[in-house]
Symmetry: C2
Subunit: 160 residues, 2 copies
Amino acid sequence: MTDIIREATPLDVSGMLGLMHELAEYEKLTHLFEATEEALAEALFGQHPAAEAIVAERAGKIVGYALYFQNFSTFLGRRGLYLEDLYVQPALRGSGLGTALLRRVAALAVARKCGRFEWSVLDWNQSAIDFYTKMGATVMPDWRIVRVTDDALTKLAAAA
Amino acid sequence: MTDIIREATPLDVSGMLGLMHELAEYEKLTHLFEATEEALAEALFGQHPAAEAIVAERAGKIVGYALYFQNFSTFLGRRGLYLEDLYVQPALRGSGLGTALLRRVAALAVARKCGRFEWSVLDWNQSAIDFYTKMGATVMPDWRIVRVTDDALTKLAAAA
């Protein structure tokens, strides 16, 4: 059975969306899930893409994916890559597919002369933290993510 | 004395770089500081910009800035804005400039139909946390930022 890591194509959108919903379930965040095939297709393959993705294919089926986009560090004065999602179906964890996906995005970061490759992890997801640490990543202890959404965003913007 | 919040121009690069270094000092991160005028000018005003910025001007001098770029949430299926830096010189804190900068970026996020406006804060920076919370933002308790840089990134990429 051959595993393939390759760039996502428009034909993968439906399969990826299914995996995204599985990831939201795993992260206990399905209440935030609003993505649609149309929105994902536009973001990845529209006229001005917001993100890129690679997929892991096993026996002709999409079983994992990595979705990432460019960010920028003012302190480094350099672009970086931000990994929004990395997902491999639970039954296939430990098979090397997650490692292969992560390494492939890291290779893109190096090829694009990025200063950093970053992502986020939930503090209770110890298996992910262990995996990332083993891969040479550092979990930053002191940064917190701040977010404004929905009504709070509208209200903040209204006074501008 | 009139305060102006406006889009950054190439003439602001030198002033912004000085403020970025002040921010790195405040965050105790000068060991990470490598940015140059050339890199910042290219990132903001080059052929394929990596980020955008607005500045706060008081009495003809740049005293603060906000630098941001687009990100993407797979769960929302929507673009967002990520605020990489928000800085106002210490002597001018409490003057409303930080609020004005934050509101202006929030307004852009709404105008662009973004699902989220996000940034990061150091967990010991209580004055910033208090300010953001007052502005309606939520400090997420459970996410941690993961980072691969330098030799670790090269090594991770090499095995791809």
